[in-house]
Symmetry: D2
């Protein structure tokens, strides 16, 4: 199913940006977990557009309504259905895009695939779809919290400006959700400059999963890094992912890139962290570290060449309230996808009686 | 299932490097396809160790025996079982590694996960496992060939040396499977130098899927780039993947990164190719282009710090016939994983009657 | 996922009988299909309690609200989310059952499995859950309608009285949804008698899938009869299923039970129909015929021995508005499950280009 | 995948009756289980043709060769590949059936589905395919054995003769694998009579899963009875299945059919067993009891009407060494499928930390 992810813990979603509602079903969720609604609201708030001054002014009210699977505040083990109503469907803003394919968007490919398209917005490819992911991720984090596992992400590059000399001290603050560092103001400025130019920028997000357990992940096709990549690359704006030393590993020698091991107080420690916490697809107990490349927002007011759905050449300026950078909003989404994957592998691992 | 990949067209594999045999089952394969055995042999030959002068001297005889699903040279639609016998199990070479965890290998994580391990070799995490992938990929390519779709990969960086000013003119020749380019000798030299130093190097492989059909891939969790990432990241040595402009997209503005569209003879053409052939998770008809980072071979003769499986500090020198660079051997494996994913999406697309 | 069924066309559901709402997601639904809302409403009406004089007086308003996947009355190919609000949560009726396990119900097994239970009703095991199945089945029937395939079911035995000498002339009328036959009044009387005795009865439902296509179904584990059995046996009250000659096949000789074949106007015809339309798990083009055994309603006002959730012996009389026979209401549910399975296999078959 | 069954513990198979070999892959098998080869051989021996005097004289050597996943006699947690070579391919016996569709067989439906068929035998629909099921079931039983769970089946009706007044005292002895009972000789005679008449008979097999754990199974689509039905109905000759009171439930009143509950030494006991050990799809701790209807062997020497693959009318007598009744050979196959399902649900249950 294209709209489901996970094996034991699954998230299935539905909903278009301009339809009646979005929502989903979380299945395989353990019973007996306290559903901390305040925590869920705070997670949802982090991804809401308009929540940062670098973002748009839209004021979506994205609080999901839980419809099942929770009784007196505790999960019952049955599927958790949830819905997020689309209250303000300001279709008027989107009139021009009904018949012009927006560059960098999925308008053309949806038409090619389905022969029909809800032209009032991005449909399933809209960033609004990520609200369901963040809700699912919040529930997954409640599972991980009981094991002490944390999932945190932050922006480490924006508009070509890299964060330098930073401490990993999450959760990171808005507007950019980047760690404190000497370049922070330059990073924010790069976003603001793009906004001024009716243009947009991309960036890089790092995610760290800490207090990990060794033994999660499967050896061959469902390696932990493979399933994390699947989950993270399924986020619309992500164009690349790398673990540990990542693309730099290609430039290292084996003697540099292998992480030497020592014992310390009866535990195994790694003297370097090029593996990113995963060896042979299985967690080694070290922090899992990966980075994702986020492309610049495709919706820009700058005029661009494109074609109509009747294959005539034209130009387009995409107006509306769009973020000049989606990077900050992608931070909680990446955390959510990572949390869903880790929680799923944790349940699978429990099935085999080794935890 | 951790040992299966795909939805309609599936590959399930088994086998350890030092067990009796490896093999697998390809299910959901269409009937009526001519099983071109010569093509399969040539694909298998490309990944065989010892096939290039930069590789090891091992002489594995990796020709798989087809056990079912083919009748008089034609696929019958029933599962194709295959087996690759492990003829030479020179366990003696591997004696030292029985109780020492090799850095950069999965020895420790397998023990952490399973509490038991076939210590004679890498088990499931051995590169030998990829023989099954290449066989599956060869069969997938036979499906794609009927649509004219090609999948080709080549080494575009080795030991820190980038290929420059090259033409994409596959299939590329050994020993490095890199395109002809002014730096080719430097690239090969980097590998040889590492070998001299009893060390190893990594590199970057580019893969292009050409003559693509628009409309393959699913909108949300099973985006074409997400499922390709899953498949490619499941290859042992891969540490990162990026599509189109990839990590560079993070440094571009939207106006640069969006691919403008024009019509040309009634077809849509893209004036740039930053999307890498995929928009919103669905193919746009352009070539799909991705790059994968390959880490340096973990098995090196250079002495490294490590621990024993009784958690005592020690050192290790991994002897045996190991490639100083796995990059050339990874080329056909990456093609195979990409071909399996594209063929699977092609079948799914057919289910919906739009092709 | 326990809450999902299907491979390409999938139905995932959520919702407890006394929660906020029930609903689900239909994924893998083809684009371009006219969503005939009147047809959906008529299908939903057939299963509604209170729709027949033999049923309860409850007046659930079970019209599902479609939240996505349909644009201007046409399916878009994206997931169809739907919700059925629980308007009247008359928990007062159910007070006594909070801590007593109702015989024939899942109260005890839910406690054993989850350690927590929404004691206000049957939760996921409530008959109310079948509303989502009927909605999914209605959408599946819209796919089948384009191929001319029909799915019809009727009650052929009620309270021990068999329908005799009947013509298969669907759709059958309420209150019993049984074919016209000399025993019809006796069948209805058996239900009414049980009601008078504060007891309940079961029955047998036959389902026929007509105008079938040969070639649907898969040879080994996903045989058409196996997947139909999975789907139908997943309905709460069903205790058995048989295809064609079914249990009677056990009493026949091969020469009687094999269906002889002849050609007629270039088509293959079967001289008998013991196979029930399926050979080796694959449809043979004949009508598919199966029968399902429905147990008597478990909720009865008659006093029964049981235990409390603190393991004390007690008795219980289950009051409330319960059907003395669920058989008529199970008719559209069985049709729905059969339609979902056939539509799924039809899509899979299309993937292989043979239809 | 049509050739796979199970969710965490999966069996994927390949192989035609007259191909090179059959085999399969068992994935998701726990590590640390002693692979009792003698037990596996004894299970395989029970289904082998020629193992009973009522069966055929074929002497297939069906001992599977384990190729991976087991090290020094202990399961390693990696997939267990296995192969059963087809040693004697006496194709000569099968010459006539190359172009005539055998009644009661899948010859025609395979041609309809695939357009190509290995006409030397039944292909995937051959009874020989069940060898892989019995092997998988033997491994599943090794998991269940550690929990004390037993799976046993026996023939309770053959050729229309029912076993009466029998004690359930497995394992049952050949040739019929039926419990000791006054009708045993009549049952055997019914089979022999059919053989004399160049005809065949069917029968009914009962299966009991004892020492069960409450809480296995999932509430909605993956009910324990639904997944057992899927698995058992996927066996070629099975035409019906029923649980507990089964089809008789249709004739009972609720007050009779509900199983009253009492406490006894702090445990819940059921005063009757009409539910067959499953309530709401979840095991209640009682023995699981189901019965399967087995059709008479389709291959009979008696002349039958049929058609050729060029749609011409003809007659056929199926010669060769065929069992006059497959019922005894189906006994271990039904046990195997039940064991696979229960072991899979057991692993899933463990994932949720309640066992």
């Amino acid at each position: 199913m294209s709209s489901s992810i996970g094996k034991l813990l699954t998230l299935t979603t539905f909903g278009e940006s301009h339809g009646t509602a979005l929502g989903g079903i979380i299945d395989g969720y353990p019973s007996g977990i306290e559903i901390d609604e305040e925590f869920i609201r705070s997670e949802m708030a982090r991804r809401r557009p308009g929540s940062t001054e670098l973002g748009t002014q839209r004021n979506e009210d994205d609080i999901p309504r839980i419809l099942s699977g929770v009784f007196e505040g505790i999960s019952t083990g049955t599927p958790i259905g949830f819905i997020i109503e689309n209250k303000t469907q300001r279709s008027a803003d989107y009139g021009e895009i009904a018949h012009k394919y927006r560059p960098g968007h999925a308008d053309y490919t949806y038409d090619a695939k389905y022969g029909i398209r809800d032209y009032r917005g991005g449909g399933r490819s809209s960033g609004r779809e990520t609200a369901c992911r963040v809700f699912g991720g919040a529930l997954a984090k409640l599972i991980l919290r009981k094991e002490g596992i944390r999932v945190d992400a932050g922006v480490i590059e924006a508009g070509g400006i890299k964060a330098v000399d930073y401490k990993w001290d999450p959760p990171f603050k808005g507007p950019l959700y980047a760690p404190e560092n000497p370049n922070l103001q330059l990073m924010e400025k790069a976003v603001k400059d793009a906004k001024m130019d009716t243009d947009s920028v991309g960036g890089i997000i790092e995610c760290r999963i800490s207090n990990m357990i060794p033994g999660l992940g499967d050896p061959v096709f469902d390696k932990l890094d493979a399933t994390l990549s699947h989950a993270v690359m399924s986020i619309g704006a992500v164009k690349g992912i790398e673990f540990g030393s990542g693309f730099e590993a290609a430039r290292k020698r084996g003697s540099e890139n292998n992480d030497a091991m020592r014992t310390e107080n009866g535990n195994i420690v790694f003297l370097s962290h090029n593996a990113g916490g995963i060896l042979g697809g299985i967690s080694n107990g070290d922090d899992i570290v990966f980075r994702a490349a986020i492309k610049p927002t495709a919706s820009i007011a700058k005029e661009q060449l494109t074609v109509t759905d009747e294959l005539e050449n034209t130009t387009i300026s995409v107006h509306g309230r769009h973020d000049p950078a989606i990077i900050p909003r992608a931070v909680p989404v990446i955390e959510a996808m990572a949390a869903l994957v880790i929680a799923d592998h944790l349940l699978i691992e429990r099935a085999y009686g080794r935890r």
